[in-house]
Structures are given as structure tokens and as C-alpha cells.
Symmetry: C2
Subunit: 217 residues, 2 copies
């Protein structure tokens, strides 16, 4: 199995966590996303993945774009340990949390969106950061309210799920823009519980082969 | 079962299609999203759905936010007719198509994002439309390439799946901004096949109880 990934891509990070939790060995293929070295829009990568984004999972003849599609595929093909509860209501709650990250926060703040804001719309650096913080807080407030309504060690119950695979990378992104996390005690508590686990540690951006040798900026 | 929906919300539209395909009766609860009549951020709705977005599905004690979480829940609780293939690779392809719509196109172009572009960033009406068209074409190109690689009557095979539940509302949005769909013959062909089916017709924005009586603007 091969994972096309970028160390600080939070969508790639989600998949790295799931692979580590399930103990699946894989080859890490770095796809640079920044500046002149960017490869995600190059023809060779576009031929592999028409979506031209990371992550991409390659499992024999199967190629899967979209992190949440990869997470479901891993859950179906490598069911132990499970990253979804067994009851439909619990599964829906986990998916709802994961999708809130994947559809409402990350898409609005990622690299290509920031580049478009600064480029086509001429937004200043400060305006781009304000944009990021706005959507980050908007999303984290919703997640905090959902966790506060059913507090547990992890996002859902006493073992990590797909929701935790999405939450931890999103909080990594939040810290990268110095978002104040004080209003989110449930999110911070769950994040800390996750980061105690070796699988979450192995997936950290700074531990990936393509991380800059001097540490993240 | 109750669906909190807005007629022209494409995420609500996805769920309406799935409910109709599966023949599930439900109560339609309109949640106005526009102007002074907007209810999605009002305390009563936020208490039901901390995400403060539509759609929301209520099934007895279960409340589910996020359209794709709802689609999976419906698939698990009402498996016939299936909206996912049975093989993991096929399921992953369908999810990847659906998620490309739900994570890469719709989040960048929805109402609250357009309002933020015009408000906080002071973008002109033309700049907002250009933004919408940019992300629309970026996403549709990826979907077209994926369908071209494995053409079928629907997005995946000869029956509708979750991918079709997402594609058709996205093309509705594309037409609403007069996007040129000529470069996407596979998408248009599949869209037309879907719209021949009564379930897709029943889910159309203009057929919902909260659609303006004189037709959509």
C-alpha cells in the first residue's frame, strides 16, 4: 500500500493516523504542494489522481482520492481495530463530527484557498488570517457543542474513531494559525488523549519523511 | 422521520434524493437561510443542530447533521435499494466522487462563504461570481475525468449511488451561476439519466414546500 501525502496536509494526516491505528504498513510517497516544487498539479500525479490533491491511497489496482473515502475503505478492508461504532446512530454521530471538519473547516482554509484569496481577490495577509480564524472558530464551536453534549474520553466513547482522526489534524491547523483554543476544553481534552497514543504520534507532521529537517516553521 | 431542509440548499437536495430513491416518507421542515427570515442560527435550531446548517435528519431520538452522514445512516438503516456498491473498491470510488463534491466544491461556494467574501473581504459581485466559477470548474473537471475513466449510465454502474445524489445538486448549483457545462459531457449525460427518474424529480428545489410560489429566481 502506498500513501501519497504531504507532511502538513491535514487531510493526509487523518489517513496516517488511521493507518497507524490499524497497524497497516505502507510506503510514504511525498507530494510537494508548495511553490515551484509543487507536484500535485503536474501531469504525472494528475494521471494517478484527477482530483490533484493529497492524500491518495494506492492499494494494488485500487486508487482512492479523498481522505474520508480512504478511511472508510480501510475500515472495510482492515476492520480491526474498528474506527466506527457498531450502532447506526453512533456511526452517524462519528461521521457527522468527521464531516464537519472535512466539509466546513478544512476546505475553507487550505493552501489553494488561501492562495486564491491573496491572488484573485487581493486579500492582505491579515485578511487571509482573519478569514482562516473565522471559519476555524465557527467550526470548532460546533464541534465543542457536540462533544459537550456527550463527553467521553475520545470524540465518541472510549476508543478513537474516524472523528478523532479528523479532529487532531484540525487542531494542529488551529495551532498553526495561533487560534485561541481556550473556549474548547472538550476538544483540547480529547486531542490530548489522542496524542498520548503512539499511533497519533507516528502520524505527526514533523515525523514524516518530507518534513523539513529543522522542524516545522 | 423529519428532514430540516432548505429548498435550494444543495446539501439538503442530496438527502431528499436518497430519501426518495429509498421510498422513505418524511416530514419536510423548512429552515429559511436568507436575510431576516433566516432561522439556521436562531437558538431554537442551534439547540437541535449545533452545526447550525441544513440538512438535519431527525429519526426518533437520533439527530444527524451533515448530508453525507445522513446518507450513510439511511444506507445502513434502509438498505434497499442500495446506494453503494458491495465491493470495497467500488464503494471507495462512489465515496470519492461524492466527497469531491461535498469537500471541494460546495463548501467554497455556499451562501455563508459568498456573504463573507462580499462582507469581510469587500469582494464585488463580479469577484464573488468569478470565485464561484473557479471552484466549480476546478471540481467539475476532476469529476469529469473520473467519470471518463469508467463511463456508465450513472456515476458508478447502472443504478444511482451516493455519487449521483451529490452530482445532480451540484450541477443544479452550476446552472444557477450559468457555468458553461459543455466541457463536461459525462457529467451532463449522467445528470440527464438521473433526472429521468421520479425520485430525482421529487427532490428538485422547485418542488419543495418552501420554494417561492412563482418559481426559482
Amino acid at each position: 500500500m502506498q500513501l501519497y501525502s504531504y507532511h502538513s496536509s491535514s487531510a493526509s494526516y487523518r489517513v496516517r493516523i488511521a493507518l497507524a491505528l490499524k497497524g497497516i504498513a505502507y510506503e510514504y510517497v511525498a507530494v510537494p504542494l508548495l511553490g515551484k516544487a509543487a507536484q500535485n498539479r503536474a501531469p504525472a500525479y494528475a494521471a494517478l489522481n484527477p482530483q490533484r490533491l493529497v492524500p491518495l491511497l494506492v492499494d494494488g489496482d485500487v486508487r482512492i482520492a479523498q481522505s474520508l473515502a480512504i478511511l472508510d475503505y480501510l475500515e472495510e478492508t482492515h476492520p480491526a481495530p474498528p474506527l466506527l461504532p457498531t450502532d447506526p446512530a453512533g456511526r452517524a454521530r462519528v461521521r457527522s463530527l468527521a464531516l464537519h471538519v472535512a466539509c466546513e473547516i478544512q476546505p475553507l482554509n487550505n493552501l489553494r484557498v488561501r492562495a486564491r484569496l491573496a491572488g484573485a481577490l487581493g486579500a492582505s495577509r491579515e485578511a487571509v488570517t482573519a478569514w482562516q480564524l473565522h471559519w476555524m472558530h465557527e467550526g470548532l464551536q460546533a464541534l465543542e457543542a457536540m462533544l459537550a453534549a456527550a463527553p467521553a474520553r475520545f470524540c465518541h466513547g472510549d476508543a478513537p474513531t474516524l472523528a478523532d482522526c479528523c479532529l487532531v489534524p484540525q487542531l494542529f491547523n488551529a495551532r498553526a494559525i495561533a487560534a485561541d483554543l481556550a473556549p474548547y476544553p472538550h476538544l483540547c481534552r480529547v486531542d490530548a488523549a489522542c496524542l498520548e497514543l503512539p499511533a497519533f504520534q507516528a502520524a505527526l507532521p514533523e515525523r514524516q519523511p518530507d518534513a523539513p529537517p529543522g522542524g516545522l516553521a
